[in-house]
């Protein structure tokens, strides 16, 4: 198991945000977590990334308890809904950022970034500043910035929800290709049922701070809580 999360609990003041949340994730697999806004998905991801501290519970990465590791040492990259590119750096430097702080050599950085820029279809935009990019281009740069340091685990927090339908489809396709090529291990959080089913190897459903992991997609689809049945009924009624 790459990631094991055990009994995570979190309260913000009087509100319980996460209640006994646990999951396991194998290497090179994507776990989708479906849930509505405010159900605790983002808090869970931030706890795994080390950006928020849990009240209780453990997180194991490759069998090692990482509770006391600060976020910059966990090697778990968090990708938020907003691409949040560094506004003062161009596309190249945004992608190169992780390599520069790891003090890799300029030649190696040039090679790695150029290769990744090519794969992401950003060659023409390499020297553009973030404000000159479209939403989809920004999210590609965001991917590049996250992938170039080969993180053991990638956390994607509704990365495509701000994009239009067409761009969203393209990004979903791109992610699946890149996840396969780079053998990424990731947790993909979304409130879109179709996206959750599309992106995952395994799937979970989060409601009011509690996470249910399904054995397979069929059991997810059959569960009336997830909303899939209602969706099917709607389309059948038309």
């Amino acid at each position: 198991m790459l990631l094991t999360v055990e009994n995570i609990n979190k309260r913000f003041y009087a509100e319980t945000v996460l209640q006994n949340v646990g999951l396991v994730l194998e290497q090179h697999r994507t776990l989708s977590i479906l849930g509505k806004s405010g159900c605790g998905k983002t808090t869970l991801l931030k706890i795994i990334a080390g950006l928020v501290f849990q009240d209780s519970g453990n997180i194991f990465l490759n069998g090692i308890n990482i509770n006391s590791l600060p976020p910059n040492l966990r090697r778990i990259v968090y990708m938020s809904q907003e691409p949040l590119l560094f506004p003062h750096l161009d596309v190249f430097e945004n992608i190169a950022y992780g390599l520069r702080i790891r003090k890799e050599g300029p030649a190696a950085i040039e090679t790695k970034v150029d290769q990744l820029v090519g794969k992401l279809g950003l060659q023409e935009h390499k020297r553009k500043m973030p404000h000159q990019l479209s939403g989809g281009q920004k999210q590609r740069v965001n991917f590049g910035r996250s992938l170039i340091i080969n993180p053991p685990l990638l956390l994607l927090d509704e990365p495509f929800s701000n994009l239009d339908t067409q761009t969203r489809r393209e990004m979903q396709q791109l992610f699946k290709e890149i996840a396969g090529e780079f053998k990424i291990t990731s947790i993909f959080v979304t409130h879109d049922i179709k996206e959750a089913l599309l992106m995952c190897d395994s799937i979970g459903y989060m409601k009011e701070g509690q996470l249910t992991i399904y054995d397979n997609k069929n059991s997810f689809i059959s569960d009336s809580n997830t909303g899939v049945q209602q969706e099917i009924a709607f389309w059948q009624s038309l």
Binding site: K46, A49, G50, L51, P70, P71, N72, L73, R74, R75, I76, V77, Y78, S80, E82, L84, F86, P87, H88, Y97, G98, R100, I101, R102, R145, S146, I149
Partner: protein, 256 residues
């Protein structure tokens, strides 16, 4: 309507430029009495005399500049640090409101309230004392100006940088500082001007011994020496006019 608008613009430009032209003329006028609209004679010796005569204008210029640079540097750094601390505090809105109190008071009256402590600490009549006193109004100003920087967006940038492997100082120097640079520059120049323009507080805490340029203007007005008052006025307005030329935001401040 086009003609009226043009006329208003022309009047506005004339009104805007006139004080500068007038003060410049007065500073080089040899003899300019009633009822003449222009000086009878001009001379540049007064300007050249800044560097040669014993009128202490050069000293005042250097002193004002040094004090303003120190006040600007300290208050920008302190404001950046303190506004970050405040942004993380639950009572941040109350703390920011508290910053308005020393700022809203007339600096001369604020200096009278605290003058006793400066005397006790042997800071009265010293350059250090004047710098510290000016910091007491410049720092609240810079806190209010820089508080808008510490938004959720910046916190998110910090988080992203951390998950990409940055420790605190890497995030600070490679992400926060560069992103904050425009706002820090605005803060620096505006606090520079707070110090550069300061008169009342400097008079009280400096006890007239710390002779900045604003004090020289007042001294010359008191002596009815209008030509030197105009000369020192011209020197005072040179830096802000230059800042304006570079970036208007360096001069205009609105703490709303």
């Amino acid at each position: 309507m086009g003609g009226l608008k043009k006329a208003i613009v022309i009047i506005g430009i004339v009104l805007s430029v006139f004080p500068f032209v007038f003060l410049a003329l007065l500073s080089i006028a040899q003899d300019w009495r009633f009822p003449f609209l222009l000086p009878s004679y001009y001379q540049s010796a007064r300007w050249a005399g800044i560097f040669t005569e014993s009128n202490d204008l050069l000293k005042s210029l250097a002193l004002s500049f040094a004090i303003a640079i120190m006040v600007a540097a300290f208050s920008t750094i302190a404001g950046f640090m303190i506004s970050r601390t405040i942004s993380l505090n639950v009572k941040r809105k109350l703390l920011l409101f508290a910053c308005y109190f020393p700022l809203a008071l007339s600096p001369v009256i604020y200096s009278l309230l605290i003058n006793h402590y400066f005397i006790l600490l042997n800071l009265s009549g010293t350059i250090t004392g004047v710098i510290i006193a000016q910091l007491l109004i410049a720092v609240p100003f810079s806190i209010l100006l820089l508080s808008s920087f510490w938004s959720g967006y910046i916190r998110s940038l910090e988080d992203i940088a951390a998950t990409l492997g940055s420790n605190f100082s890497q995030s600070f120097f490679k992400v926060l500082l560069p992103v904050a640079r425009p706002q820090l520059l605005v803060c620096f120049f505006q606090t520079f001007l707070i110090s550069w323009f300061e008169f009342g507080l400097t008079t009280i805490i400096g006890v007239g011994k710390v002779q900045t340029l604003t004090l020289k203007v007042f001294e010359y007005i008191g002596e009815a020496n209008m030509y030197y008052a105009a000369l020192s006025s011209c020197i005072i307005i040179l830096p802000p006019a230059l800042f304006l030329w570079v970036n208007k935001k360096f001069v205009f401040s609105n703490l709303n």
